[in-house]
């Protein structure tokens, strides 16, 4: 909360003292412009939420942004679930077979260097060609897949680290009980990996939101907050506060996803010793 006020303070302070047309150092425009078009006042952004989206409508923009965020939220959640499932599956495979880890891990790293914008149209066109019986590939599913594409990586890497960091003594204990690999996985390795998986899931949660928003923008999927950002940005000169309403909507969405993982964390770790909290 304090941090938020600080950001607002810095923003308004810069508006007060910053150069109106941007600062120029050695002929390069470096400092951002502090005029009302580039940096609207914070209260203008907030009051913009109460006004309608455009002259033709009378729903306040707050409702429009919330609806967009809700639309994006559902896709991002699907993407996160999908990405987590894939990530966990890959992590288990890599933990089980050293060969798979050696063969697969470099490709996973490589996959994250492919720009999402380049991938988005491809996923849409693959999905469009996919027909399994009655099942039609909906457009939003492409966006979810792209969210999952960003989300699976931290989950796979974090879980792999967790699954392979099991204390040797505990593994020997399980061996002394003649436990199968599967029993060891579910009764020992996964619970022991949880502290490694939670930060990975937090990364994945925010990554899935980013993935979906980029996918909305680059595939032209209407209805979500990503689309709103692009639409409102076009009106930036005439209505500068408008785009910020959508940007904040997207940021809030990321925070909500993060909060969901934090709740999972608190529930999952409720019986563990908490050194950090003391």
């Amino acid at each position: 909360m304090l941090a938020l006020l600080l950001v607002v303070g810095v923003w308004e302070l810069y508006k007060l003292i910053g150069p109106q047309d941007g600062g120029t150092i050695f002929g390069w425009t470096i400092l951002p412009r502090a005029n009302d078009t580039a940096m609207p006042h914070v209260w203008e952004m907030l009051s913009r939420y109460a006004q309608p989206e455009n002259r033709a409508s009378d729903t306040p923009i707050l409702i429009v942004v919330l609806q967009g965020a809700w639309f994006t939220f559902r896709i991002a959640l699907t993407g996160l679930a999908l990405g987590t499932a894939v990530g966990l599956g890959l992590a288990v495979l890599m933990a089980r077979f050293k060969v798979v880890e050696r063969g697969l891990l470099p490709w996973l790293v490589l996959s994250q260097t492919v720009p999402l914008i380049a991938l988005a149209p491809l996923v849409v066109s693959w999905g469009g060609r996919l027909h399994v019986g009655e099942f039609e590939w909906p457009r939003w599913l492409s966006a979810a897949v792209l969210g999952a594409f960003l989300a699976f990586f931290p989950v796979a890497v974090g879980t792999l680290k967790g699954l392979t960091s099991t204390p040797l003594a505990s593994l020997e204990l399980m061996a002394s009980y003649a436990a199968s690999w599967r029993q060891t996985l579910f009764k020992l390795r996964f619970p022991a990996a949880l502290p490694y998986m939670v930060p990975a899931l937090k990364l994945a949660a925010t990554a899935s939101v980013v993935g979906v928003i980029v996918a909305e923008i680059s595939t032209g999927l209407a209805g979500g907050v990503g689309r709103l950002i692009i639409e409102y940005a076009r009106e930036a000169t005439s209505d500068p506060a408008k785009v910020f309403t959508a940007v904040f909507g997207a940021a809030a969405l990321g925070l909500v996803m993060y909060a969901i993982v934090t709740i999972i964390d608190l529930v999952g770790m409720r019986n563990r010793p908490r050194e950090a909290a003391e």
Binding site: P167, A169, L173, S176, N271
Partner: protein, 276 residues
């Protein structure tokens, strides 16, 4: 569960173990080990660091394979005995699962055997009563002291009523008072459950107080140099520690250890973990 009459609890014949065999840095951890342990015995393995006492215990537990020789547990090859859960094991670190309650920790071996919930619960509570921790059944491991955690580990090791208990310096991390208390408790528990015990330690009084026999080992290469009978009788109490007979045995074990040079192998070969 228990073996037929006349079967030895543990039988070790011509056992040797070489780490990194055939490569530079090969370490002869054990050579020419022969040892027979009868049911109901309490046998301690004692020796300086690097004498292979932990390795020998791990061979009996089939947590590692011998280079030569054979190990029979309960009349079966060690591997078969492990798969049948013929022994329970306790380590220096209690090694409780921090995400499980005390009861759930004790239930672990029973869960792995596929017992149903009610039966597991009943046995776990019975075991906690045995180690006098009934009122901590729903606590979590981090809420217990080191000695209490180790008692839970013993309850867990004995939950399936194995005829044999293997212990690797289980009281090594405890303070002296707790340690003596735990020793008395261990003797009581083993008497009540008629469990055979193989116990690794480097404390001479601990070995003498607990054991019917003390096996003295020496390093480079790890081998048995002496076996000492401790005829102190089955009833051992706090007072036993102050008897002439007790001191005499402690002296005897100390003298058996005297000629032995401590190994200066670094790292301690007991810590050498085989590539699995």
């Amino acid at each position: 569960m228990s073996a037929p009459e006349g079967t030895n609890a543990v039988e070790v014949r011509g056992l040797s173990k070489v780490f990194n065999a055939g490569r530079p840095g090969a370490v002869e951890a054990l050579v020419g080990i022969d040892l027979v342990i009868r049911p109901g015995e309490f046998v301690s393995l004692i020796g300086p660091s690097g004498c292979g006492k932990s390795t020998q215990l791990r061979l009996i537990a089939n947590l590692t394979e011998p280079t030569t020789g054979e190990v029979l547990v309960n009349g079966k090859p060690a591997r078969a005995a492990r798969l049948d859960q013929d022994y329970g094991m306790a380590f220096q670190q209690a090694g409780l699962f921090e995400w499980r309650s005390v009861t759930k920790n004790v239930e672990l071996p029973l869960e792995l055997k596929g017992w149903d919930r009610a039966k597991r619960r009943a046995r776990a509570l019975e075991m906690l009563e045995l180690v006098k921790l009934s009122e901590f059944a729903d606590h979590f491991p981090w809420q217990l002291s080191g000695g209490m955690q180790q008692r839970v580990a013993i309850a867990r090791a004995l939950a399936a009523h194995p005829p044999l208990l293997l212990m690797d310096e289980p009281f090594g991390a405890l303070d002296e008072m707790t340690r003596e208390h735990m020793q008395t408790e261990l003797l009581r528990i083993c008497a009540e459950t008629s469990t055979t015990v193989v116990f690794v330690t480097h404390s001479i009084p601990e070995a003498v107080f607990l054991s019917t026999r003390v096996v003295v080992m020496s390093p480079r290469p790890g081998r048995i140099t002496d076996v000492i009978d401790v005829a102190l009788g089955p009833e051992r109490t706090v007072d036993t520690r102050e008897t002439e007979a007790f001191f005499a045995r402690v002296t005897e074990v100390r003298e058996a250890l005297r000629g032995i040079q401590p190994a200066d192998v670094e790292p301690d070969i007991e810590q050498v973990v085989e590539e699995r």
